[in-house]
């Protein structure tokens, strides 16, 4: 069952139904049913990809997702998943092990590089000119968006995201109730996202118009 404070429950019997679905899927995979394997891949590939990408970045992502799928499928077929209704928990454990193993590999390879040649020890962490330009442009855009929202909304976002102040402290120092804080934060985030999109769109339009002017359309 998912913790109530983490996930909003909309029906009492949904968890039980979800567990039944997992049990059925696990049973198909145990029978080496191709449909079951396909279903497992379809169900988890996006989520596993999202999780791994968020933790480790996009490098070798396809291989990692594939490895995870193979590990889970083989473990189920070997009967190692004793509680089929806990399939999601099992997949999570496998994915977390993949992440931990990758970090461990990075640490080991970095140590080995130190031993081989000192010059290899530290990679150049500076961005290349293109990355630096993109990063700078994104930052400037974010600054403009943040500047353009109401001062109180801006302060809430900065306190919450940059200074990581707890809600209680923000409420006390800004004289807000808990409900006001949540509403203002929600509004500020929506406004920030909306303005960001608008500014990006605005910048793209002149570019496309220039192209149109330079390359006359054939009638």
């Amino acid at each position: 069952m998912i913790a109530k404070d983490a996930v909003e429950d909309t029906a009492d019997d949904r968890t039980a139904s979800g567990q039944a679905v997992w049990t059925e899927l696990v049973e198909k995979i145990r029978r080496n049913d191709a449909d079951g394997l396909e279903e497992l891949y379809r169900v988890f590939s996006r989520g596993v990809r999202f999780y791994l990408c968020r933790q480790l970045g996009p490098q070798d992502l396809d291989d990692r997702v594939h490895d995870t799928f193979i590990i889970v499928a083989q473990a189920i077929q070997r009967g190692e998943l004793r509680e089929p209704d806990r399939l999601m928990g099992y997949v999570r454990t496998i994915v977390r092990r993949q992440v931990a193993a990758q970090i461990e590999d990075n640490v080991i390879s970095r140590r080995q590089q130190f031993d081989l040649e000192w010059g290899l020890a530290v990679r150049d962490t500076a961005s290349n000119p293109e990355q630096a330009a993109i990063r700078q442009e994104n930052q400037q855009l974010a600054v403009r968006v943040l500047k353009s929202i109401a001062p109180r909304d801006r302060e809430i976002l900065i306190r919450f995201y940059l200074w990581e102040q707890p809600a209680e402290q923000i409420c006390t120092e800004m004289g807000l109730t808990d409900t006001q804080f949540r509403l203002l934060k929600s509004r500020a985030k929506a406004r920030f996202g909306e303005l960001g999109k608008r500014k990006v769109t605005k910048r793209l339009v002149p570019f496309s118009e220039n192209i149109r002017r330079e390359i006359p359309l054939r009638e």
Binding site: R46, A142, F192
Partner: protein, 202 residues
């Protein structure tokens, strides 16, 4: 497959997860849900993006806010400089005085996440430094060992500490020399748990 379990994470839960402030059974439940819920994956990606953008932009805007009272208090600066001059005159090593009195820069070290190139934690050389190590998802102990090694793998700092709110804190009163460092967290038995990169700029 049509999922019967189509609940979604609350905004607060997404924020806490994005900020690595979720732990224990709640974290497990949340991540299990995230693995199968595309809506929450998209919402989390958006939350991560907003958080990163506000942090990037806020880092530019916020210091200006903090600097305003200081600019208006020039007298305070003048007095401070006089006091500093007296200290030098009295033969006190003003470098060490400055190091001990200046508030330490707080650096939060987190594991790399996201699709974009990570921004490495950076500090200024020779200035007091407080490191906050995010221990989310690590095996829990009452105490951890922490070690900082330089680019050559030579130890630069070691300490033991107890975590608070899934974070381990260490203060280096004299800071570090410019260079690349790796901050490592070990179990009390000395088993390596996590490593963070830290750049100290001159």
């Amino acid at each position: 497959m049509q999922f019967a379990d189509n609940r979604h994470a609350s905004d607060e839960a997404l924020e806490r997860y994005s900020m690595s402030c979720m732990a224990g059974p709640e974290l497990a439940e949340f991540e299990e849900h995230l693995l199968v819920c595309e809506t929450c994956q998209d919402r989390l990606a958006r939350e991560d993006r907003i958080r990163q953008q506000v942090r990037d932009a806020g880092a530019v805007l916020a210091p200006k806010r903090a600097a305003i009272p200081w600019r208006s208090a020039r007298l305070g600066w003048a007095l401070g400089l006089v006091a500093l001059g007296l200290a030098v005159f009295a033969g006190i090593e003003w470098q060490s005085l400055r190091r001990s009195s200046a508030p330490p820069a707080v650096i939060l070290l987190q594991t790399t996440r996201g699709t974009e190139s990570p921004t490495l934690a950076a500090a200024s050389a020779g200035k007091p430094l407080t490191l906050l190590l995010d221990l989310t998802d690590l095996q829990q102990f009452s105490e951890y060992k922490m070690e900082i090694v330089d680019a050559g793998g030579h130890p630069a700092f070691q300490s033991n500490g107890s975590p608070q709110n899934a974070r381990l804190q260490a203060t280096l009163t004299r800071g570090l020399a410019a260079g690349a460092y790796f901050v490592r967290v070990y179990t009390p038995a000395g088993e390596l748990l996590r490593e963070y990169a830290l750049i100290v700029r001159g």
